[in-house]
Symmetry: C2
Subunit: 111 residues, 2 copies
């Protein structure tokens, strides 16, 4: 079983593609085999596997071969890494708004 550390640059690049986003949505329903994952997508299995590799390389998905079947599932730490990136942007922004609020008398702190 390969397990990739989440890479935020690659994650955003991976999710910039509509097919890969749809795969993540499908996998968030639960783990499934590559062929079942491929069902709704009008493309060759080879193309699905290529997209899956991109998702695995960035740490959003984990795949594991059990016997002859390759099973795939969401890797939650990939979602965590994205959420952290967003929170970091937001917290810088909100700290700034807080400072502006203080400057313009919006602060009602005691002491």
């Amino acid at each position: 079983m390969k397990r990739k550390k989440p890479n935020i640059d690659r994650i955003f690049h991976a999710l910039g593609d509509a097919t890969r986003r749809a795969m993540v949505v499908r996998l968030s329903q639960g783990p499934m085999s590559v062929s079942r994952l491929a069902e709704p997508f009008e493309m060759t299995l080879a193309a699905v596997v290529q997209h899956l590799q991109v998702l695995e390389e960035c740490g959003l998905v984990q795949t594991e071969k059990v016997g002859r079947v390759r099973s795939c599932r969401i890797e939650p730490t990939g979602l965590d890494a994205m959420e952290e990136w967003i929170c970091d942007r937001r917290s810088v922004w909100e700290r700034r708004l807080d400072r502006l609020g203080d400057l313009f008398g919006g602060s009602e702190k005691d002491g």
Copy 2:
């Protein structure tokens, strides 16, 4: 002032590009003019404006022309939309894990 409703497909596509992610990181420090935003990027102002348009179209950034200067700032609802998408994926996944936990006797709820 144009204000675009966040579009999650376009947001992920927009952030799939390293330059545009760097612009969002820079703008999360606070609003600034286009020329100040452009400073660290080794590209023409026209190229910066093009990236900025992508960020504005997807609802991650807002720009406003005041006199002769175009000012840009983060549009927090764009970050909200992304966070919601991630939370939706995670909640489906976690509900599934909860159900598995219940099946295997992990539930310790009263009543």
